[in-house]
Symmetry: C2
Subunit: 502 residues, 2 copies
Amino acid sequence: MTDEKYRKLESLQNEISDITGAIAVLGWDQQTYMPQGGSEDRGDQLSTLARILHLKITSDEIGKLLEDLLPYASQLDPDSDEARLIKVTRREYSKRTRVSPDWVEEFARVTTVAETAWEQARETSDFSIFRPFLETIVRLERDYAQFFAPFEHVYDPLLDNYEPGLKTADVKEIFDVLRPQQVELIRKIMEKPQVDDSFLHMPYPEKEQWDFGVSILTDMDFDWKRGRQDKSIHPFTTSFGLGDVRITTRVETDQSIVSLFSSMHEGGHALYEQGISPKLRRTMLATGASMAVHESQSRMWENLVGHSEAFWRHYYPRLQQTFSSQLGNVDWFTFYKGVNKVEPSLIRVASDEATYNLHIMLRLQLEIAMMEGSLEVKDLPEAWNAGMKEYLGLIPPNDASGVLQDIHWSGGSIGYFPTYALGNLISVQLWEQINKDIPDLEQQIGAGKLGGLLDWLRKNIHQYGAKFEPQELIRRVTGSRIDPKPYVRYLQEKFGQIYKIS
Amino acid sequence: MTDEKYRKLESLQNEISDITGAIAVLGWDQQTYMPQGGSEDRGDQLSTLARILHLKITSDEIGKLLEDLLPYASQLDPDSDEARLIKVTRREYSKRTRVSPDWVEEFARVTTVAETAWEQARETSDFSIFRPFLETIVRLERDYAQFFAPFEHVYDPLLDNYEPGLKTADVKEIFDVLRPQQVELIRKIMEKPQVDDSFLHMPYPEKEQWDFGVSILTDMDFDWKRGRQDKSIHPFTTSFGLGDVRITTRVETDQSIVSLFSSMHEGGHALYEQGISPKLRRTMLATGASMAVHESQSRMWENLVGHSEAFWRHYYPRLQQTFSSQLGNVDWFTFYKGVNKVEPSLIRVASDEATYNLHIMLRLQLEIAMMEGSLEVKDLPEAWNAGMKEYLGLIPPNDASGVLQDIHWSGGSIGYFPTYALGNLISVQLWEQINKDIPDLEQQIGAGKLGGLLDWLRKNIHQYGAKFEPQELIRRVTGSRIDPKPYVRYLQEKFGQIYKIS
């Protein structure tokens, strides 16, 4: 009887997973191949599917099943797939059912139009176009938090949507350690002679960039039978199920080889999704543990591998040969230093490893202030610019390259930004553990052998999908909570060497 | 109150249309870009969405609304969009609710596996692999018909799914007129010296074929802002809504310029979908009137335009310039005759205008016999070969190029084939009318001006979508029922000239 109920839960999970996958396909097409005229229909299709999905997840049927399965669940090994699936379903059900349908509908409506308003605002660098929409979004997010009262902090319920279990106080504590260290490091770097990266700012033909990216992805063991790469304006990874995980890359032929790093970043996300155990197929567990854990994978491949000395020792000769007119006179160490150039900049997505987290800290501070009510949306551009001055010593010349640069808020994604920085931290925590477990990791990478790393990741991270909450997963693997110190050590060592800081 | 109920019906229609559109997106991706590993997930997603769609269309809510709307509908202008939407919704609701859920589920299950079995069977030319699946499908289709008993003919309920309102007796009557005339024409053609088409059987580079196809589609006024063209093994047209209508083409570089005609064929389908009135957006009426009417549009552009003297008088110089090494020594009339070469062949999709319908007649005869129970599936290959001998004078050397050539039966699409031949007939019926209304049509085409034709089609056919049943639409436009005589006249005149038959 209980077994039958569990089967029923599984079959509802399958349906939920199928609809989620369908939504992902529609989203992928929207960003890659959809003609302009398709956007109105696509918006309708996506909102209809989202509504159907919401009704499925919050159905009385699931609520009743979860209740009936309580005694069954209590007898299971708490680490079994079954117990975890019940737990995660319960978490989703209980979160979603707390929120009123009216709220869901208003939020969906405003975020749909807000994105268009944000695009217009950014194009014309006119915050006033976006302001009323962001005001509504902030009001709605504050209302959202109230559905979860009482809470330690009003930001907690938002953060929990991206990092289940993590609290605002945890993030603040982590960032409080990290910030002065990164600021100090950047100060020291800025005192040193700047490295040369002029060779990166010239035309690199598209086809060669694309092919090189594909060959790296192939070396990373990206499974082309279960995925593909396409082009889009903003690179992303999406999964339609364990057998179809797609990435996109942005090829800028004018002035960079950015697509290589973009491919490695998205490839890192994709390896995670492709590595999830088939036993979790068609359930809510067949995804990453959290946004930060996901980002730890992408940043590991992009930075710890893709921006490392070892990696370029191996790959540089081929790169140089491919782009001989651009790189013919550039030696590999100059190239390595060039791709790792540190320079405070206005734009988060274009920033280097040493400054990136500061962009995030600014956003977190502003999000928290807006949620607490101490910062009004109308004062946001000013607060942004003041923060940029304080954190990075720069003042944006206009809002397009300031407060309007990121799409996230227009989609109602408040609480998302911190996961980027946390992902960086986690990547290095894992990296230290991997280096203990694979003492010759650097030599392997230096020989172009990336399989040892992937095996470790599959065994320790990927296979589990969303079975474990992020902090639990990290503790299982590293024995520690999220810790900024390894990241600080990593930055100091790497950039100390590049910039000759003693 | 009633108005409110009608709004409710519209909003359910919108939901149904959104899900239908989503299914189309998933299907398109499956045929164009999906990696091999995605097929299992995709199958699950499609079947879940199909189930949700079925439940929506057959919901008690719709049933109740339709009943409540009866007095309202009776007061409406019977040709109004509102009255027609209610009518079509009722037709779909009443057809779908007659069929048992068990049948729907078994049919979905068997057709999913049958397609794979058919692929295997065709690859190995071994009918026995496919036979048990087809036996189940035929049994299920016979069961399906019983849901609609009493009927004039057991084939009627199947035909009705593709040609609403048309009866088996109508089709037989039409084909009985057509068949001896086509057979006689082919006989006369075969007595004459064959035309030369050797220049078509050589390599034509892909990019040039693609670009030429795109330029013709552009001249046809295919709206690239509301559509796109991709490649697939089997060309098709699909609509995700009025703002996003996509076609695919098959490029065979080895031995033909087949992609040009494929693009025009699918372009004809697409112009129909793109030309539907925006007032019908997001309803069941935002599609073609029937498969045959749809095919009349594709065949009109492919054949009546794309295989005409006038068309090539205009386009041939450019084609010859593009493919100068293949066509440099071929004059335009030789080319025109070459693309219109008549030759009985084994494969339906490769056959010419004069023989095509005979392939359809054979299939119809076999389908009817299987449905009536006078032909068993085990005897189908033999019956196929006997029919090919009788109709076209050829015996397939194996089942792959015989009974296994078409995918339709594996998907359970019995009743579909006749619409191809009916589409040919309707295309010429419309063509005669168009030539009356636009006396200089041929000159316009000969000058590369295709807009007059498209305007006529939009005004008389496209805008109405599925508002009118196919026979009603044809009668409105031509004043006649589906009639084989114009098609016979057309074939006799065209091929009489090409083959010099007096």
